[in-house]
Symmetry: C2
Subunit: 314 residues, 2 copies
DNA sequence: TCAAAAGTGTTATCCTTACACCCATGT
DNA sequence: ACATGGGTGTAAGGATAACACTTTTGA
């Protein structure tokens, strides 16, 4: 008999709804969770097939773009037993990122700002950072200069500049500082107690999720923000026809920072990856906007999108 | 009783020796292999600890910089049974990339050009591409325009430009085209036969490795080449003191392309991540070179290295 | 004195960033 | 007419890529 390892698959499924980046969650009545399911070695030929299968049966949703994120195997932060229904097995979870152009009006789609409210800088620096996070992290750091420096760089405190990609680093810091409800839960489990998952109350520092799902979500958001800059993945979030403003709004929602309109257009045009259709959008306020489509056939030839998100300082 | 999954860990351990990028291999007498070992769920707290443990006990080597690459779980390309000593278990392998500044003079260090001879463009476009790879891929493509286009873009055929990061894409293409000995081996295993690993003859299209190790190696090389451009990982391959030429040689060995001396220096200086020591190197031919050190303390503050490797066309 | 490698000056070009302004539509 | 969002011109500054050239050592 083999030592027991059970592989779980979790998916960060991202879409855009009403200009907000949203992520598919399950069990809306309790603490939020990403869609997850077991990997059955005797049945599933590949991780990706298994993932598509259980997502479609669990949520009725067919995935398009999918990429592997990371495999989480640390003890103490693994999934609770019940999650995969195994006895005393060690749970290893393989996280995936998926992008889709359509999101239902269902409540299972949650804006990810619910879980990471400090990540949205589109309207400027969130007050939460200086009013909630900074004092809490400084109290945790105390006289430890290393901790203070990490906090400063992660959260752009005291004039440091914001790097939108470091989502995981920020979450891990809050976790380590005990400011994420998941930290207390995991500590209790490590002591042999069996705590309930944190309630889904809207915590000031972001809503918690079950197991290590918020960590997987942070990994997904960070990866996506990074990838935006050098691969044309945005288009996986767009419908077949879209306006350039809608494209910009999408990038802004993902990156969490505002972009300069004209520069954005120039960059997009220069890539040669979009094509104007000559037709106009059916209004959304002012002047009609031209519709564009993604020239997917060019993807192999010029796979870069070189969006250089400008540094946001304040 | 649980369905059996066994997790294996494999490491792509990279160093520089005599200006060549080399990778640590085991079993030099047979087909090459990366260092690998099982993950024991009841013993190992994290993947990374297990990895450091078995690498040090297997090769006597202490790892420094380590990062997770990818988790390979596809059936048909998994590790052979014997590798992890399990019965009928499904093998999932988690690949890691490790960098180290020191390589022994041992033969266990193999230049990776042995496995991917087409990846070294430092002396210009390798003849192998047009003389060996192109005809073979064209024969495989036949009248299939899609296949021909993929080959063209991956291997920079017919004027397409070379992208040094697409190492995995190139290997996968050769595998799919049946030009990697591993492909025949895996096909045989899928049919229920039990073929020996390919012999370690120096194949024209690169030496094969056991199991999916060459794929893991390709993943590691691609990741490293990409990361070079935006994270200061090169320094993990350097000793405490080094000359700028040595640094440049290292980047060239990894990226596989030649760099412009002065532009390289300007970029490195602008990052502020190196500091001249005022002392000189003890000769290597001509004029003595100044020694520099990596300012590791600046790593948190400015984590970018922005090496923009210029496009190589021919 | 010559080979070998270190190190510097300069320039055209392109990209990034940031101004401010005009255009087409519905109310 | 005016509010709303779509769409454009232009220019400063900086980074990139590519020239060719000087300097310092050992043989």
């Amino acid at each position: 008999m083999n030592p027991s390892v059970v592989i779980g698959l979790s998916a960060v499924i991202v879409a855009i709804r009403d200009g907000e980046a949203v992520v598919l969650t399950v069990r809306p009545e309790a603490a939020a969770a990403l869609p997850f399911g077991p990997f059955a070695p005797e049945r599933d030929r590949t991780f990706e097939l298994a993932l598509r299968e259980f997502v479609s049966s669990q949520t009725g949703f067919e995935l398009g773009y999918v990429e592997q994120l990371y495999t989480f195997g640390d003890r103490g932060r693994d999934a609770p037993r019940a999650e995969v229904g195994a006895g005393a097995a060690r749970v290893v979870s393989v996280g995936y990122l998926a992008l889709t152009p359509s999101a239902s009006a269902d409540t299972v789609w949650a804006p990810w700002s619910r879980f990471f409210p400090w990540e949205d800088w589109r309207k400027g620096r969130p007050d939460l950072i200086d009013e909630g996070i900074k004092p809490a992290l400084m109290a945790w750091a105390g006289k430890d200069a290393g901790r203070a420096a990490r906090a400063r760089l992660a959260f752009a405190l005291d004039g440091a500049s914001w790097n939108e990609e470091r989502v995981l680093e920020r979450y891990e810091l809050l976790y380590e500082a005990g400011l994420a409800p998941e930290a207390a839960r995991d500590a209790a489990r490590a002591d042999g107690r069996d705590p309930a998952e944190p309630a889904a109350i809207s915590a000031a520092l972001g809503e918690p999720m079950i197991s290590d799902h918020r960590r997987i979500l942070a990994t997904g958001l960070g990866r996506l923000r990074g990838k935006l800059k050098y691969r044309p993945v945005v288009f996986e979030l767009m419908a077949g026809e879209f306006t350039l403003s809608a494209l910009q709004k999408t990038v802004e929602a993902i990156a969490g920072i505002p972009l300069h309109k004209q520069n954005f257009r120039r960059v997009v045009e220069r890539t040669g990856l979009v094509e104007g259709l000559g037709r106009m959008d059916v209004e959304t306020g002012g002047r009609p906007a031209e519709l564009f489509r993604f020239r997917r056939e060019e993807l192999q030839a010029r796979p870069a999108l070189g969006l250089s998100l400008p540094g946001v300082r304040d």
